[in-house]
């Protein structure tokens, strides 16, 4: 009834754009592929180099290792992992975990205690650059820890795990909230060589928390390796311009080897011209215009277990745009017709991603099964990109850039989703691709997905959010209620000088009322009960499939998808159309099962649906859009930017060939 996994693999792989630089990228052995059409990863997480709770190596071990960690706690077996730590500086030696992690033999250790010692094969002789603090407050600039601690740790772990490991960054962007960034050029950890110098240089030049004025030097005279840093324009409008300079720097130098993805973008409220706050739609437009092949998306927040009695999931307060999260997503991506739909309504290559933002387990130590703050990468959320044969770091970026990607919380669905559309013949287009149609033609949309038998929840009691409506659904057993197909019209790119390029934004729930694409709507809602059902074996779960049709009109549009375990009109969770309500409302629901854990927040002595119980109770996945365009109409920006990526890839291949030829003659 369903295609084999190999058939799906071909479909998914066909959508990847600009699979370039094969010779420069590092791959995995075929044994690790497991036959899935997509591979799971995480690109946003922290360690003690900045404000995380565990050592850099420990984070990788838990994220990509299998089975149980040596000191206890489950590992989560991700296929790929980007170590995406803050920019700036840090005073802790991140070869050690923090005391608060409660790990045997690990106590908080500062650089001042370890200078000159060889630990884990790494010797740090001095803290470089502009002196930054003294004594236990002496800090290492992040460009140094990227080069001398994190990348060597990635090299070490690459020899241990047959996984793709990347050194990245959570860029503290001038004028803005944070941004996931990676520059893979020069990184060859599986060959036990290379470096992360390009990643480090970006951090030094453009991170507003990195105020070092020196950076690495190239000689005894103190001449700088990276001269010409702007250490002034870090705030507000001037900061935004510096951030744009950073985007342009990536586009000019590493157009296919880097990405910049703004994260938890609603958290600090709207953009401020005089401070460092959030983003308005014009800033995302600026980024995508300046970096058409590097600035191609937005990340919804992690910190999934931070929700308390008055909200807080995603680390969002009531001052965030939207006033909090909605189904664990920010309002920019959760709202139908919201900011993301506004960008898609221009036909932009702008896709959605989710990662863990792992720092700590809050009240728990690193090995405890519960968390009141964050999940370990791979434990709760997975970012899927295509499994492109011999998988490499380049394929992670190619997959993300292509838009052929989806993000899943609580293992609501597995690594083998199919979401595609076609008209005549058998030419399917999947996420990130554009289907060219004739007006009046029937468009067939097909989705297949697997609901796994279990997730990583330590709780087996029934979902407390669904108890009031009579549904018994154990928290450790994923269950899909329905899938929404969301459509929106594409009306063309808004020019920077157009009056609607910039849109007024608002903090709090007022921000949730802003409509950026009024044509966006839930065009189809397909309940799991309506889907065809097959079994994937006792271990793998239930395979579901549905097909629906649309009629092509004369205007371009897009179709994106989301799914959830939450039925429409669930009190305090979803509205009658199935949209997630503000997650703070979840805490109106009591957790009354005798197994409800002790760490939940209470109101008048009654436990409420908060923290990790809330996260496992309110589960969603998001799939990126398929674009539909009438034939003979102008190409969409997603198409022209895809073509740009392909041209850049061909040029890079030619340059590479030329370089090889050049070397042959020396």
């Amino acid at each position: 009834m369903f295609p084999s996994s190999k058939t799906i693999l071909l479909t998914a792989a066909s959508a990847s754009l600009a699979l370039t630089q094969g010779a420069a990228a590092e791959g995995l052995g075929h044994n690790e592929r497991r036959g899935n059409p997509y591979v799971a990863g995480d690109m946003h997480n922290h360690n003690t180099c900045t404000d995380g709770s565990v050592a850099a190596g420990y984070t990788i071990d838990r994220a990509v290792g299998r089975g149980t960690a040596s000191a206890g706690g489950n590992n989560f077996d991700l296929d790929w992992f980007t170590l995406g730590n803050h920019g700036g500086s840090g005073n802790r030696d991140c070869r050690f975990s923090d005391t608060s992690a409660n790990l045997p033999g690990q106590t908080t250790t500062t650089w001042s205690q370890t200078l000159g010692q060889t630990i884990d094969g790494i010797t740090i002789s001095s803290l470089k650059g502009t002196p930054n603090g003294t004594g236990t407050g002496a800090q290492m600039w992040r460009w140094q820890s990227i080069r001398e601690i994190e990348y060597p740790t990635i090299v070490d772990r690459s020899a241990k795990y047959d996984k793709v490991l990347i050194e990245g960054l959570e860029w503290i962007a001038p004028g803005h909230e944070h941004v996931d960034v990676a520059v893979i050029t020069g990184q060859h950890p599986r060959k036990s060589n290379g470096n992360a110098d390009k990643m480090a240089e970006f951090e030094y030049r453009f991170d507003r928390a990195d105020t070092d004025a020196i950076g690495p030097v190239i000689d005894a005279g103190g001449n700088q390796l990276w001269p010409g840093k702007d250490n002034v324009n870090n705030t507000g409008t001037a900061g935004h311009q510096k951030a744009l300079t950073g985007v342009k720097w990536l586009q000019a130098n590493y157009p296919l080897q880097s990405y910049i993805i703004p994260t938890h973008t609603e958290r600090q409220g709207p953009f401020s011209a005089t401070a460092n706050k959030g983003y308005n739609i014009e800033h995302f437009r600026d980024f995508n215009n300046a970096g058409p092949t590097v600035a191609f998306g937005i990340e919804s927040p992690g910190h999934f277990a931070e929700g308390g009695a008055s909200g807080g999931s995603g680390s969002y307060t009531t001052n965030a745009v939207g006033g909090g999260t909605y189904g664990m997503s920010g309002v920019y991506t959760a709202k139908v017709g919201g900011l993301w739909d506004g960008l898609l309504g221009e036909g932009r290559n702008f896709f959605m991603y989710v990662s863990s933002d792992w720092h700590s387990r809050g009240a728990g130590g690193a090995r405890d099964s519960f968390t009141t703050a964050d999940f370990i990468p791979g434990e709760y959320t997975k970012l899927y990109v295509p499994n492109a044969g011999r998988f490499s770091s380049q394929h992670v970026i190619d997959g993300m850039r292509s838009g052929n990607s989806y993000s899943v919380n609580a293992d609501l669905i597995g690594p083998d989703m199919v979401f595609r559309a076609k008209t005549r013949g058998d030419e399917w287009k999947t996420m990130g691709e554009t289907l060219v149609v004739r007006p009046g033609e029937k468009i067939t949309v097909e989705m297949e997905l697997t609901v796994p038998n279990e997730n990583n929840s330590p709780y087996s009691f029934d979902n407390p959010l669904l108890v009031p409506i009579g549904i018994k659904q154990p928290l450790n057993k994923p269950s899909l209620d329905h899938v929404d197909l969301i459509t929106g019209q594409i009306t063309g790119v808004v020019a920077p000088d157009a009056p609607n390029y910039a849109v007024a934004n608002a903090a709090g729930t007022a921000g949730a009322a802003i409509v950026y694409n009024p044509s966006a709507t839930i065009a189809r809602q397909i309940s799991a009960e309506q889907m065809q059902r097959g079994h994937r074996g006792d271990r793998d779960g239930v395979r579901l499939k549905f097909t629906t049709t649309f009629v092509a009109g004369t205007k371009p549009f897009y179709i994106r998808a989301r799914g959830t375990n939450i039925p429409n009109g669930t009190p305090n969770v979803s509205d009658t159309a199935g949209n997630p309500l503000l997650d703070a409302n979840n805490a109106q629901v009591s957790c009354t099962d005798p197994a409800c854990p002790t760490h939940l927040e209470t109101v008048n002595g009654v436990k409420k649906v908060t923290h990790d119980v809330q996260a496992y109770s309110n589960a969603w996945f998001y799939a990126n859009p398929i674009f539909i365009r009438p034939e003979h109409s102008p190409k969409l920006l997603v198409e022209t930017n895809g073509e740009l990526a392909r041209r850049l890839g061909q040029r890079a291949d030619n340059d590479h060939d030329h370089d090889d030829h050049h070397h042959d003659h020396h």
Partner: protein, 113 residues
């Protein structure tokens, strides 16, 4: 397993409490950005609040964990997030967000377990 506990002897280590010297040659933060002094003051205020609760009160434990994270943020130079974590600690104490029922305990793996 044992009842919750936390060791704060390392707090001064990982955040360099009391250190307020500007890095010579480094750029000065924008005037409206939170400062280390503001972070330290907010943490001290929240800690005083927490110490008003009995040592075994669950909200005191949660507040102390928030304050630990606040100082981790300070060690990373993120004073805005330090203030946010300190604010969470204060709310935790004021509203007694976590309470144990008779016979309940929060099980946290100790370093020696």
């Amino acid at each position: 397993m044992h009842l919750f506990r936390i060791t704060f002897c390392a707090l001064g280590l990982f955040a360099g409490i009391g250190w307020a010297m500007a890095a010579p040659g480094a750029a000065v933060p924008a005037a409206d950005e939170p400062t280390r002094d503001e972070c330290n003051a907010a943490v001290a205020e929240a800690r005083a609040l927490a110490e008003g609760l009995p040592p075994d009160h669950l909200s005191r434990y949660f507040a102390e964990r928030h304050l630990h994270q606040a100082m981790a943020e300070a060690g990373n130079g993120e004073f805005d997030e330090c203030l946010e974590m300190a604010a969470r600690a204060s709310v935790e104490v004021r509203e007694r967000r976590h309470e144990l029922r008779p016979g309940e305990r929060l099980k946290v793996l100790g370093v020696d377990e």
